[in-house]
Symmetry: C2
């Protein structure tokens, strides 16, 4: 009796540990992501539409490439009515049917339900190889969002070959169990011989401009020049992006983890899980860039026997092994697991985005974070005088503003175009390591103005691509790259290199303008000098020769180049290895030859 | 034979659907988060140290409050040696032992392993009630990171009462299964009668300054004035933050979802899962703010029978029901599920952070996003002339810069102090809806300078708190609030209100300065006027009286107030409801009385 009272006193209106214990429950991963759908990119209807398209296109591209097929992808958005109501026009619709069709290898019948209606299920998570998908969440998440907002199932047709039947499925997720519910499955006639078609009905909003499906399709075509895209916009417009390169990029190879940057705990786990019987065999067999010789050296330096069983390496021995590995000089990881976009495609892409005066691209050597190899590619376009820009701006209607973007008439901020494993990133810019690196670069050093805490200002586009076997995104929606020190460093170095080249260009341009002005003044006087000489000599001089001589003097005194000669050259005129400067004049709608061909 | 050839030709070096199908696998949630540890806040050693502390403190505060106990929390950081090596000094250590002790209710024995070594397990996910933890990930994630980087298990002591034994556990996560592995369990003697102690050894880095554990402790004390914190920094320093309020905040109540903003799919699921037998009973019983009467009205307006079985409401009927609910006028959700910090604590907290001239706090009325009620609180401090600031800056050593921060001598950018459910958010500022709202507010309207794309510049601190039954974070690490339209709108409205008050203050201050200058000039002449009058009258005047009269005239002409009188008032002198203006002069180390007491 006394006890109970004490307890009640000590816990006014509070719960006991027992009561709290009874509330503890397991949370299914589907329940978790239903509540956190913004983590998957479904925080608002406009973004949801884009995310669904993106997830389906990622899968379509990955599957086609992995099967060695040239990607040929159709994306179709249709406004849908709510309930019995007829479909409203695209601009007013609140529901859409998203259909993505590939001509890829198809999916075997048994896998279809789980591929489309189970989170954390897939083939790409457990291997080290660059691909667009990596988590086994995306397409099922899109289906789950459709189910949540419209109650409609995901509809799939898939066929693995001409001799095979086409399978039709309707599936939903049982969110409490994170398992598929099959509502319908049958064999159907399908006009395609091979491929997969997925249809999701979802709450969405269609609006062109920045961060739209339209922009995403355009950027995807830039980063995937080997793929053909056909895009049916919800307003009925059809856009085609035929491939410009007739072969797939070299398929990236699957690799083993590189020992640099791998965590002690991960190594402990690998020591337990390995199939090798000897420690040295484990080191050379389960890691990349560790030869048999190096493996034996590591064992020796760590004071361990090369022939001991890996699972016996624990505690202090494991710590020593770990320290020794980190201190051993090893080759950089192989990069055949990566498939960069390439400077050529970057320059051509930038040229499509911004008609400028200066273009450059920088590819960093491969680096490693947490054992994962990655490559950073940066492109930079700087364009046009303010007057030319103003004229262009007056001619073109202004695009709607995207998230976080602002515009006023004081001057444009640089645009940052981001890609990860060839996938355009169009949301969450300010959370992205690429954008942070752009902010932190001191652009004033390169002649570009910049306010504190803001991106550089000016007619400028910055292109950044990270290619890696595992891109660390800041959320499951894969919109921004996480801020690992090693990654930020590589982006910063690439930006600085591009910035330096731009700085040289801007300085030269300024100097050329000044020299040009001086020469122009000089030239104004040439005729008068020639006339004066003629009068002095009584008309008896070689007029044309004198004029040419004076012109030569003028040129020599003022650097010998006209502004026009500064540009439109095949290679960078300043002796910079990869700098390319082009004029936009005279080129219609496409990059000039030297951009297309590379330097 | 021919078939095989065709197939081989069509798929050069590619995989077949069968081969790809065999690679499909389930991914455990622990494997997923091990690879994506940055999602949990463990991207770099400094941040990892903070995240581990934060997760443990969140749990300690939640548990104590839920049990009706006043939180009394000890946080202890100790440098740890690698392997046999002795522990290096704090500034050089790469490993730390993090220990957090509460005097809370303890955890029942059976639950300990899963609470600390299983992701997505907890008591807070499945209910609608404001708490710091909500996902069932945090503390297990910290343990998993410790395991990954040091190989060490998590050590727990817990005791649920004086008559109960204390249990000691050492646990790790089996990442393949996402289940705990118990390495050690026993009963031990423990000096405490009740509470939980958790120790995690992990790779970390200790550095003071912005985004440090030190700052986090300081901010936690501000947002939890009812809690006592004792912080043992790794360099041996001990800081105490005794509670300033002797009672816990009113415990938030668990509520049912509000029908506004709930998704159709969620309603469909609730219709299937409900225990109600009648549709009207379902509506009034499973949602908040739906009375029996309203429920019957909704049924009628949707053309449905109030007595039909909820699980029979599907398809078009469900769509009609959904539309009718969204069109029905309902009371705003109850707010007893929320526990805002309160204007008093906000003002006191701001005063600790910035010694300024102007302070204000705005609490928005509760709003709803996706059926979840939330409240936004904003505080704003504006301080000190540039000269005073410069003097202060010269006196105080500069703190190290945090992520994304920059500093130069052109002028300081405003500091944004963010909280969610009373937890300070110190990372990922630029990804946060609060920061985006600060960027998007046109501060120039309120007399504060601001560059494009940058936060406002000036001696200013902006405090934002979101209290909700479910805060939508941009990642599992809970560092930034996701950008839902409804949330952004509320933050923006609160910022504008605070901004307007600041604008009035800045204008008045400018006017007062101008008037003051005028009066000072006037006053310079008073003596001369008095002297002249004296000479005119042959010395026969009431000199003091004249001087006083002239002073009165001067005051009247120039607004009657000295600058000094503008400040140090008990209530806002401008008739603004919540505006408070204080001087820092004469107040030592603490807020002035009226800040402490509220207005």
């Amino acid at each position: 009796m006394k006890n109970t009272e004490t307890k009640a006193k000590a816990r006014p209106a509070g719960k006991s540990a027992d009561e709290m214990g009874k509330q503890q429950r397991e949370i299914s991963v589907s329940e978790f992501f239903t509540k956190n759908r913004h983590l998957l990119g479904f925080d608002n209807p406009r973004k949801a539409l884009l995310t669904a398209v993106k997830e389906a296109v990622d899968n379509a591209l990955d599957a086609s490439e992995e099967a060695g097929l040239l990607p040929d992808i159709v994306v179709k958005l249709e406004p849908a009515g709510v309930g019995d109501a007829p479909a409203p026009p695209a601009s007013q619709a609140t529901r859409f049917r998203v259909t993505v069709i590939d001509h890829g290898p198809g999916i075997v019948r048994d896998q279809i339900p789980r591929v489309f209606a189970k989170l954390l299920y897939g083939s790409k998570f457990h291997r080290l190889r660059m691909s667009r998908g990596q988590q086994g969440i995306g397409i099922s998440a899109a289906g789950m969002y459709g189910q949540l907002t419209t109650g409609k199932p995901v509809k799939i047709i898939s066929r693995t070959g001409e001799k095979q039947p086409a399978h039709y499925f309707e599936v939903q997720i049982d969110t409490k169990k994170n398992e598929p519910i099959i509502l319908e499955k049958k064999q159907i006639e399908w006009e395609r011989h091979r491929g997969t078609q997925v249809t999701i009905e979802l709450e969405g909003k269609y609006q062109k401009g920045r961060a739209s499906v339209d922009e995403y399709m355009e950027l995807s075509a830039i980063s995937n020049p080997h793929a053909t895209f056909t895009y049916h916009a919800p307003d009925g417009e059809v856009k085609s992006y035929p491939r410009t390169i007739p072969v797939n990029p070299e398929p990236p190879k699957e690799i083993k983890p590189h020992p640099y940057g791998i965590e002690l705990g991960m190594m402990l786990k690998m020591l337990q899980d390995t199939k090798s019987h000897w420690l040295s065999g484990f080191l050379s067999g389960d890691f990349s860039r560790v030869s048999t010789e190096t493996a034996e050296d590591i064992c020796k330096n760590a004071g361990l026997k090369a022939h001991m069983r890996p699972r016996d390496v624990t505690g202090q021995a494991a710590e020593n092994l770990y320290k020794t590995i980190q201190a051993t000089k090893l080759m950089a990881p192989p990069t055949n697991c990566l498939s960069p976009i390439g400077e050529k495609a970057i320059l051509a892409g930038l040229f499509k985005q911004i008609k400028g005066e200066f273009y450059t691209a920088v590819t960093r050597p491969p680096a490693v974070y947490r054992g994962n190899p990655f490559v950073i590619e940066v492109g930079l376009a700087f364009g046009k005088t303010p007057e030319a820009l103003a004229a262009a701006a007056a001619a073109a209607p202004k695009a709607p503003l995207a998230e976080g973007e602002s515009r006023d008439d004081d001057g444009e901020l640089a645009r940052v175009i981001r890609f990860a494993n060839r996938v355009p990133l169009v949301y969450q810019q300010s959370a992205c390591a690429t954008f942070k690196a752009v902010l932190d670069t001191t652009w004033k050093n390169y002649g570009v103005s910049q306010s504190r805490g803001a991106p550089p200002a000016g007619p400028m586009a910055v292109f950044v691509h990270m290619a890696s076997v595992w891109v660390p995104f800041t959320s499951e929606s894969k919109e921004a790259i996480a801020d690992y020190d090693e990654i930020r460093k590589e982006i910063t170095l690439a930006l600085r290199e591009a910035g330096r080249r731009l700085g040289v260009f801007i300085k030269r341009r300024e100097r050329a303008h000044a020299e040009n002005k001086r020469r122009n003044i000089f030239e104004l006087y040439i005729e008068e000098v020639v006339g004066a000489c003629k009068r002095l000599k009584g008309g008896k001089i070689a007029e044309a020769k004198l004029r040419a001589q004076l012109n030569d003097v003028a040129k020599k005194l003022t650097g010998g180049q006209k502004t026009d000669e500064l540009v439109d050259k095949k290679a960078g005129p300043f002796g910079l290895p990869d700098s390319i400067i082009v004029t936009a004049e005279g080129v219609e709608g496409d990059a000039p030859a030297h951009v297309k061909e590379g330097k």
